[in-house]
């Protein structure tokens, strides 16, 4: 900080060339790569054990149906290998001080308990680990071990331990510790590893914290959590994905030997699938806003169900079909031609009758009530700001709106800047967005960062 502030309210500050990017979904990845490829250092902070965010969970992307992993994983690899990107997983920002151009940031880096350099990814530890928990990456459709790699293509592709499900840590070291025994590398697993605090200085901050999905249990009349074959769209997304628990098969939720509800490849396939739009969106009782992507991903899921199970009947219950982007309307027409039944009228309630699900809806265009029996119901859940948005916004000094989305500086002409100089926002954390818009915005945020570093090299304060 410069002291010329004494003779006025104005002083100058060199912009620190490093940048902090918070959140490593596709927005964070894109912004980091843009900045790093321009020759500047990036700290990429990610809360979970891997980068990739939600996009890594998807099977295909609308409307082109190209595979999400295919277009994302190379970017992830690039991030992982980039000499100018310092990737901090299992980390959260806890304090932001300083000034635009010279933010002093404290980062809490949780222990992964497995040495990132030494781990060879052999999997011996996980094979023996007795601790299990629902896999976050599989959206809870399957279990993972307490020591695990979030998914086979994760970056970094190294194991980590979840203390919540680790038997050793839950029993204060009285039980287990079997992973250490079976690890072929000395000193690789340290069950007593401590969290770290990291202090860095950056000139710019890019917020790309993304979203979480709406909790479908809040709409009790759809019976999510009660009826095993009422799924969220994200769960179906994992079922359809070849890397998911069923190797790409769409199956029923069944109980495993220990009584956990999970999906298995031999779970049996549905003969009819109904997709309900706007679950948790466009609803004053939940979120009044439109989540923008659900119509399109529902159409995509309908297509994928049809592709995997051609004989399965698929029904979409919608209010307005929001197929707005490039090629989207065409995609909608295509899905209709594929024989997916489109019903204008949102389902009101679901009951379970002899293992089958009964949906009651109004078929508005045909002026009748439909009581539809379906083997499986997919709830097209909306998007919500991810947890911790409020704390982060207060920490950094950025405004959020009533729904918890970050507010941009100017809704018209500056969709990435914020009222706080030096802080830009990218992706869904600013409001629901599809992938192309997210990527464009992330690049735009990067442009703002590059421009600030490069141009004046100085920031003016008033």
């Amino acid at each position: 900080m410069n002291s010329s502030s004494e003779n006025g309210n104005e002083f100058h500050q060199k912009v620190h060339p490093d940048t902090l990017v918070i959140g490593a979904g596709i927005a964070g990845i894109q912004a980091s790569l843009e900045i790093a490829n321009a020759g500047y250092k990036v700290y990429l902070v990610e809360k979970s054990g891997t980068i990739g965010g939600h996009m890594a969970m998807f099977d295909k992307t609308f409307p082109t149906l190209d595979c999400a992993a295919c277009i994302l994983t190379p970017k992830m690899v690039e991030v992982g290998q980039h000499s100018r990107i310092d990737l901090l997983t299992c980390s959260e920002v806890t304090e932001v001080n300083g000034y635009p151009g010279a933010f002093k940031v404290k980062i809490h880096k949780k222990a992964r308990f497995v040495d990132q350099q030494l781990c060879i990814g052999c999997g011996s530890c996980a094979a023996k680990c007795p601790g299990k928990a629902p896999s976050e990456f599989d959206s809870g459709t399957a279990l993972r071990k307490a020591i695990y790699i979030p998914f086979p293509q994760a970056v970094p592709n190294k194991y980590l331990i979840d203390p919540e499900s680790c038997l050793y840590m839950q029993t204060d070291g009285k039980k287990c510790g079997v992973c250490v025994k079976f690890c072929p590398v000395n000193d690789c697993i340290d069950l007593h590893a401590m969290d770290e605090e990291l202090n860095i200085e950056v000139g710019n901050i890019v917020i790309a914290t993304g979203f979480k999905i709406f909790d479908a249990k809040k709409v009790a009349r759809f019976g999510y959590g009660k009826f095993p074959n009422v799924l969220t769209s994200l769960e179906l997304e994992r079922l359809i994905n070849a890397g998911g628990p069923t190797e790409g098969k769409i199956t029923f939720r069944t109980k495993d030997k220990k009584g956990n509800w999970v999906f298995k490849p031999d779970g049996g396939a549905p003969d009819s699938v109904a997709i309900i739009h706007c679950v948790g969106s466009r609803d004053e009782n939940c979120n009044a806003y439109c989540s923008k992507v659900c119509c399109m991903y529902s159409l995509k899921l309908a297509h994928l169900v049809k592709e995997k199970l051609p004989a399965t009947a698929v029904y979409e219950y919608f209010i307005d079909m929001r197929a707005f982007g490039k090629g989207y309307e065409e995609f909608y027409q295509r899905i209709k031609k594929e024989g997916v039944h489109m019903i204008r009228g949102k389902t009101a309630k679901i009951e379970e009758i002899k293992g089958s699900l009964k949906l009651r809806s109004e078929d508005i265009l045909n002026n009748r009530i439909i009581e539809q029996l379906a083997d499986m119901v997919i709830l097209a859940v909306g998007l919500e700001p991810s947890d911790g948005v409020k704390q982060l916004s207060e920490m950094i000094g950025v405004e959020i709106d009533a729904n918890g989305w970050y507010k941009e500086l100017d809704s018209l002409l500056d969709p990435v800047g914020t009222a706080r100089q030096g802080v830009t926002i990218a992706g869904v954390c600013q409001g629901p967005k599809d992938i192309p818009d997210t990527v464009a915005q992330a690049s735009a945020a990067a442009a703002r960062v590059l421009q600030s570093i490069e141009s004046l090299k100085e920031v003016e304060f008033i």
């Binding site: 070849a242 309307e329 990527v439």
Partner: protein, 580 residues
């Protein structure tokens, strides 16, 4: 010939390939082919573990050539080339076999698709044998940028560059900056007055020392390649500018749908019927009257004029729903007692704050009516009972055949690509889709770049878009451009044409056919020569050369023919062919 050591990697692509192609069988079969040291398959070859596997194998088995059977090289050739480079192998010792788009995606018979995959991979194996190491080429980047189109997208890009201290040329066809946005009064969804915002933006652009605005101008020619373009800009008063620049941003924007084409709406026939563009003008003046000069009592706003209909444009124009709601609000303020009818097909208020706009608008006594946009457009005819017109259609939400009286009808005309898109696409070497919009490099992960390096498409020339999305795109393009300018250099195509002076006879067929002006005649030696910096490796000259003196690196006749031979040979015959 020394022995080739080829590694073959077959990707599952999750289930995308594995569902239709027996990838395990393919890799097993390929292992038998001569020269193939090993053949493996993996779930996601492009992922970190997949690439790692290739790198480790190259080192361990001393592989000198790699075949990856996966998706289109357009998606992942760069990925795997980098992997080869990381393993210490020349990146051009790679050949990809596309068993995704060209095989698993388009077939339904698993046995046949597997057979085809084998042929494709075998062909790639035969080709890679003839690959030669090529050297990367690096060129300097000129720091200036050419921006075609002075609308919001173009101006935002120029300003963003200007703030980074980089110069740009902003070429605008008309006599003023601002484009479509300059015609607006309010923005959606917050209904802010944008007149000042836009004029401020224009002022900032005009004031910037880093932006050279050229009005009434069109780009006549663009030559060169990323980092090193030059072009000629001509104004209507015949002034010519010769400029040099490193990158190009195309932001030519949109034109609105011609409402006269809509048979049912009688745009030319009824003075009550106007377009949304005309309405913007009216409302900017603050006086809403129809063409007869009468202040309307019944106002109908018809959505999707020219959009979402096979007879006009199939696509959705993305912004009209919100604009229509905006108009309803403006009308409610100006004419508190008027009846306002909104006729829509699907209410597509998807953006942030837009659903809320829809809700608040619906509280203002506006009647929303749904019609069938695909099958049966409303019919506007003269009202026998009153002065204006009457709109007849089947209202879908009630199933009733209804009539709506109107003395002002606003048609929400959709967006179309600008009429000069075609010439710009020729100039800058980018492609257009069937609707006339420019095609981005990748619809998901590269929404602003194009297949021509150094040329970016932003705003509504890429697809219909609102202002913030256009601005985002403009800035995204700037990020990419700044990165190349800051690095100062950029890698360019190495797969250029090459002339064998021992054969060239100086006939000069190659010179006139080169679209990049890369070939010239060396009179002293009586041969043609290629400027590798300008050459983009399109192969036109190699085809045109009657003497067989020109070949394109990485696409030699030998390579292509051996690939074809591999493709034509049945897999089990391949072994024989190779050993002979």
């Amino acid at each position: 010939m020394e022995e080739k050591r080829i590694g073959v990697y077959v990707c599952w692509c999750g289930t995308n390939i594995a569902m239709m192609v027996d990838v395990k069988d393919v890799s097993k079969e390929m292992e038998k082919l001569p020269g193939v040291v090993l053949a493996k398959n993996y779930k996601y070859m492009c992922s970190d573990p997949g690439q790692d596997m290739i790198i480790k194998d190259i080192k361990k088995y001393n592989l000198d050539r790699i075949v990856v059977a996966a998706c289109s090289p357009r998606i992942h050739e760069i990925t795997f080339r980098n992997a080869l480079e990381n393993a210490g192998l020349n990146p051009y010792m790679l050949q990809m076999a596309n068993i995704s788009e060209q095989d698993s995606w388009v077939h339904t018979d698993r046995i046949e698709a597997t057979r085809k995959a084998k042929s494709l991979v075998a062909a790639a194996i035969r080709r890679v044998i003839h690959h030669k190491p090529l050297k990367k080429r690096i060129v300097n980047v000129h720091p200036n940028t050419l921006i075609i189109g002075g609308g919001v997208a173009g101006m935002s890009a120029a300003l963003e560059l200007s703030e980074a201290g980089k110069k740009s040329f902003l070429i605008e066809k008309s006599d003023q900056l601002g484009g479509t946005a300059a015609k607006l009064k309010l923005s959606f969804p917050y209904l802010n007055d944008v007149v000042n915002d836009i004029s401020n933006l224009i002022k900032r652009v005009e004031k910037s020392e880093h932006i050279q605005v050229i009005l009434n101008a069109e780009v006549q020619e663009i030559h060169g390649f990323i980092g090193n373009f030059n072009g000629i800009v001509k104004t209507t008063d015949e002034k010519e500018y010769s400029i040099e620049f490193g990158n190009t941003i195309v932001a030519t924007g949109l034109k609105s749908f011609d409402a006269g084409k809509l048979k049912n709406y009688g745009y030319w026939k009824y003075s009550e019927v106007i377009t949304s563009i005309e309405f913007e003008l009216l409302v900017k003046q603050g006086v809403v009257v129809n063409k007869k000069g009468i202040v309307p009592e019944n106002i109908a706003i018809i959505h999707c004029a020219g959009s979402r209909n096979e007879n006009y444009n199939n696509y959705c124009s993305r912004t009209c729903c919100m604009s229509a709601l905006k108009y309803a609000n403006q009308l409610r303020n100006l004419l508190p007692d008027a009846n306002i009818f909104e006729m829509y097909a699907d209410m597509r208020t998807f953006g942030r704050g837009c659903e809320e706009l829809y809700t608040s608008t619906s509280r203002k006594g506006i009647m929303f009516l749904m019609f069938d946009q695909r099958a049966e457009l409303p019919l506007i005819k003269e009202d026998e009972r009153g002065n204006g017109v009457v709109i007849e259609f089947k209202e879908l939400l009630s199933g009733e055949e209804i009539q709506v009286p109107a003395d002002l009808v606003i048609l929400m005309v959709g967006m179309e690509a600008h009429e000069n898109a075609k010439s710009v696409s020729h100039l800058s070497g980018i492609s257009m889709d069937s609707n006339g919009f420019f095609i981005e490099k990748h619809p998901k992960l590269d929404p602003v770049a194009t297949t021509t390096d150094g040329v970016y498409v932003v705003g509504s020339c890429q697809a219909p878009k609102d202002i913030p999305d256009s601005v985002s795109q403009a800035k995204a393009a700037v990020a990419r451009i700044l990165a190349t300018i800051l690095r100062g250099t950029v890698e360019v195509e190495v797969t250029t044409a090459e002339i064998n002076a021992d054969i060239c006879c100086g006939c000069q067929f190659c010179i006139s056919v080169c679209p990049y002006g890369a070939n010239s005649f060396d009179a002293a030696n009586d041969v043609s020569v290629v400027n590798e910096v300008l050459c983009k490796g399109c192969g036109t000259c190699a085809t045109a050369c009657p003497s067989g003196a020109i070949s394109t690196k990485h696409f030699t006749d030998e390579q292509i023919l051996s690939q074809i031979e591999g493709l034509m040979a049945k897999v089990h015959e391949l072994e024989e062919l190779e050993t002979n």
